[in-house]
Amino acid sequence: MKALRNFIDKQKPHFEKGGKFQKFNSAFDSVETLFYVPDKVTKAGSHFRDAIDMKRTMIVVFIALIPALLFGMWNIGYQHFLSMGEAPDFWTMFFYGFWKVLPIIVVTYGVGLGLEIVFAQIRNHEVNEGFFVSGLLIPMIVPPETPLWQIAVAVAFAVIFGKEVFGGSGMNIVNPALTARAFLFFAYPSDMSGEKVWISEMADTYSGATPLGNALVGNFDNMPSQWEMFMGLLPGSIGETSTLMILIGALILLVTGIGNWRIMLSVFAGGYVMGLLFNLWGLNDYMNMDPLNHLLLGGFAFGAVFMATDPVTAAQTNKGMYIYGFLVGVIAILIRVFNPAYPEGVMLSILLMNVFAPLIDHYVIESNIKKRLKRLKIALKN
């Protein structure tokens, strides 16, 4: 570690003002603060001292994503060989998936960080940590065979129009990772939905439809057992299939206090309640599906744990978080069951509620002010 510190200190003058690489100062700074707590000190005003800053927060989320990512890699291999009717050993499957996912991750980080550095330089900002997690989220919510150039275009779109036009990380209205996913979904629908995209290099005779895709067309014969849904042995986007791995990630987020339990809880509650309501209604087989299945299938758990809880785009007030989360869950299931074009509604429902989150916060605060004014009036009267 000492050698690293020395190395960084030695390189520092080159990147500071007047040095030969001063154009890359923001890039250098981002690397330095990744390894060490920044040595910059605020000079005025009162402030808290806390060991955790944005970079540390992001690293925890990153770690929480790892179980689902590793499982996703293995699952790609598993699904591929299953469709071929083969059953090789664990490592063959894992590395098959690993080599599928790695290029996607590399492209995402390359394009995303490249753009971040360009914008940071133009604006004289530091490179923001914001993309650190988005760059891992994006590969986890796309089908395994997504062409790399599409990923690059989508990441560029998400970084520029999802984030930088609003002023960079922390100022964005919608979640950048979901912006990338939504871009892909609408721009290249043939690579993003249907039966062909979820299993890489699938055998031709095999049906690669996801359970949600089957359910939407009224085919309930191949519905997997709840155990399979929970474990995630299903075709799907790279990191979303295994509810178990996502719950491990959720546990990490909750124990460290980084993820918000109110939002997670209310998203699941919203989804479950909506599923129950559909059961009461019960017009067709899809409405009669066990509400628990809704929570286990597709990207619901992933969205609830990693996407809806994004602290920038979610509601900020405690009461607002419950409303926000609940509506995310409700709308996700609504879209799934009702909209014949979209088998999965979590992405759209989170994006929609991202837009509404400030409004929810506004009314929560207004109602609180009104309540307190009323209390004050009564107190003054007595």
Binding site: P147, W149, Q150, F161, V165, F183, F186, A187, Y188
Partner: protein, 218 residues
């Protein structure tokens, strides 16, 4: 009297030319005043309808500006909006009939949007703000200028939307087949209306990058 005025002010004096130039850039109806957005979203999926609509708007706007400017002293202020609407509506009907007669296919694609030129806020706005209080010649130039400012943005947006969304320009394939064989796909999002809004946003961004005066100070 009129000869005197002409001596003082030639037809294309700098002041008159300014009437055409400023709406194209500095006070562009779409990117600066943000008017007429709805038709900009609706007809820009392909280049051809956008060009035809732009030309129609130029004609309607120039003609109705001149007519209203001629009538300006005879219009009672209380019913001026109705009079203006009647003038615009008759111009739009003329244009619509001409389109139906000569470019029927495009007119079918534009469908309701030719009729909706009537409600285009740019035209009403210019009639109210300029033609009602200026002579016919400046009013004519102002109409041309504003309609061109509108049309240019429409055509730029349509150019990018058709190129990226369908791989064609004026329905002629531009992106070579080799690209498609290599795995390139048309971007379906560009065909959808939201992308028109984002494209307009990008144009505003670029314009403000070059003309810094447009950036609001706050």
């Amino acid at each position: 009297m009129s000869a005197e005025v002409k001596e003082k002010e030639p037809l294309f004096s700098p002041k008159n030319l300014k009437l055409i130039k400023t709406p194209i850039n500095l006070s562009n109806p779409i990117t600066v005043q943000v008017l007429g957005i709805c038709s900009a979203l609706a007809v820009t999926a392909k280049l051809m309808p956008a060009i035809v609509l732009s030309i129609s708007v130029v004609v309607v706007m120039a003609a109705s500006n001149v007519v209203v400017s001629l009538l300006r002293n005879g219009i009672p202020p209380r019913i001026r909006i109705i009079v203006q609407l009647v003038v615009i509506a008759s111009m739009v009907i003329l244009v619509d009939q001409v389109l139906k007669a000569f470019v029927y296919d495009v007119s079918k694609q534009l469908s309701v949007f030719v009729g909706l030129i009537i409600t285009n806020c740019i035209i009403m706005g210019r009639l109210e703000a300029f033609a009602m209080s200026n002579k016919p010649w400046p009013a004519f130039l102002d109409g041309i200028g504003n309609a061109l400012g509108y049309g240019i943005i429409l055509i730029i947006v349509a150019f990018f939307r058709e190129l990226l969304g369908s791989g064609t320009l004026l329905d002629i394939q531009v992106i070579p087949d080799g690209f498609y064989e290599f795995g390139y796909k048309n971007n379906g999002l560009m065909i959808l209306p939201p992308m028109a809004l984002i494209t307009v946003g990008v144009i505003i961004w670029v314009q403000r990058f070059y003309t810094r005066d447009l950036i609001e100070k706050n």
